[in-house]
Symmetry: C2
């Protein structure tokens, strides 16, 4: 459905303010008219970026209709920060958030490095992660870039603090919705549950209650893929995920018998990612 | 803009017929009303798939609104045929075409293997390639899957027979348009021009006349990426492609001084890809 803006594009602004409770931040908006807000079209700039050493997907989202073109990165990787920031610059975007779905064990996040290179960028992670960041989010919080927002859903099980970020529900939000599932739900797979507070019991409940309840055409964008897939849908994973389409006991049994080796990066990555990827920093991390 | 179908989804059919001139095939359609054809919504199923050994992208496109869900694969790779066909099956699609943008030098196409696994699939390549296939296309031809079509554009220069496939221009076609550029235009790069009838002069003209004339928001989906990018736009490449944004003489000079090594797969891949990836086959290739 196409909507037309009835006010000029420079007549509104959208930004986030921190409330006294430090883990909650809410958008503050001033529109020319509330009618304009309701009929605002969604013009998402979206890029999926791949880091091949750790098979990690980084996602760039921005609101092209906002005069500032505010942008965020989900799960940036330290090794590809320069690539990502060059793209942000070329697209004329203003990066405001560097967000992690969880404390990764297989690569070092680029959040801290980004903060040193782009002043003003705020790092975001879940409060439940116990990691350091500028902003902490909890289930139900919304993260705005212009008029586009991500809804925060708690999906623990791979780690205690795993989040899934889902684009907003509404005519002026991306259609179909997009779910950035981190390691909770991978394409035809899921993250392991044998360290970092992992729990197959919790992961099953998380995915079934927080992701599989989304519309079936919701696009699933995971933090990793190892087989060359780039996207899936909720409906597909409900049917064909070889682990999570099973009943809970079968799932727990599968996860208990994966016999995976110790992640080669974990002893470097986890301590580093607890502080945005920079173990020693002069910034205000 | 959203359109609504006024006839039932099963009341029309779309398929291709071969005309006496063997390299031309045109769609034959019978609609309930011509009005229905004009207001037909586009519901493209689209997947980008990656083969990491050769950094090749394979693209799956299908028309979800057609009762048969007809589908095609662009640039399938032999190593990932089973993955791609499993996805086709899970999505309930009917694969009808396996298409190549050109005779690849860096991997073996999956077209021939697909034909042995899925009876009825037709392989397609340019007439100018001089390769074997079931169907040969020339500039201006249209390849239909249901109501969605790809327009064939000649973009020689990496090889003599390189094509770019562009989704149709119209309200019932994907918006924005999508250009599958093969090796003619890569994201911030282009294919080499030093073998297989390559010509930097021709490549420059091809990209500028056939791709850079498309709307600037046209999505650019290349055959390869080596840096983790998945998509670009025509507007971006016109501005930021470090080779093709330059004038022609500068471009030719850049291409003449790349000093690239001999492709490790070329002596296997090219002869194989001249016959759809199967050098000896009992099929009707």
């Amino acid at each position: 459905m196409m909507f037309f803006r009835f006010s000029t594009s420079s007549s509104f602004s959208s930004f986030s303010i921190l409330l006294p409770k430090p883990h909650i931040f809410l958008p503050f908006k001033s529109y020319t008219t509330s009618f304009a807000a309701q009929i605002m079209p969604c013009k998402l700039i979206f890029r999926q970026l791949f880091e091949k050493e750790s098979s990690t997907y980084t996602y760039l989202l921005a609101d092209s209709l906002h005069p500032d073109k505010p942008a965020l990165l989900i799960d940036p990787v330290d090794r590809t920060v320069d690539r990502d920031l060059a793209l942000v610059k070329e697209l004329g975007l203003k990066l405001i958030y560097a967000i992690n779905t969880h404390v990764h064990a297989d690569h070092v996040t680029g959040s801290g490095l980004i903060k040193t290179k782009v002043p003003g960028v705020k790092s975001i992670i879940s409060k439940a992660s116990n990691a350091k960041a500028d902003l902490f989010v909890e289930p139900g919080d919304k993260i705005y870039i212009g008029d586009i927002y991500l809804e925060v859903r708690a999906t623990p099980g791979h780690t205690l603090g795993c989040l899934t970020y889902v684009t907003g529900d509404g005519v002026n939000q991306p259609q179909p919705r997009m779910a950035f599932t981190g390691d909770a739900l991978l394409i035809r797979g899921c993250g392991r549950t044998d360290f970092q507070g992992g729990s197959s019991d919790k992961l099953y409940d998380s995915v079934h209650s927080q992701i599989f309840t989304l519309p079936k055409d919701t696009l699933v964008y995971p933090a990793h893929d190892y087989k060359g897939f780039t996207v899936s849908t909720v409906g597909e994973e409900m049917l064909y995920n070889p682990r999570l389409s099973k009943d809970k006991e079968t799932f727990k049994n599968i996860m208990q018998n994966l016999n995976l080796s110790y992640p080669k990066m974990i002893d470097i990555a986890v301590p580093s990612n607890m502080v945005c990827g920079l173990q020693e920093t002069k910034s205000d991390l």
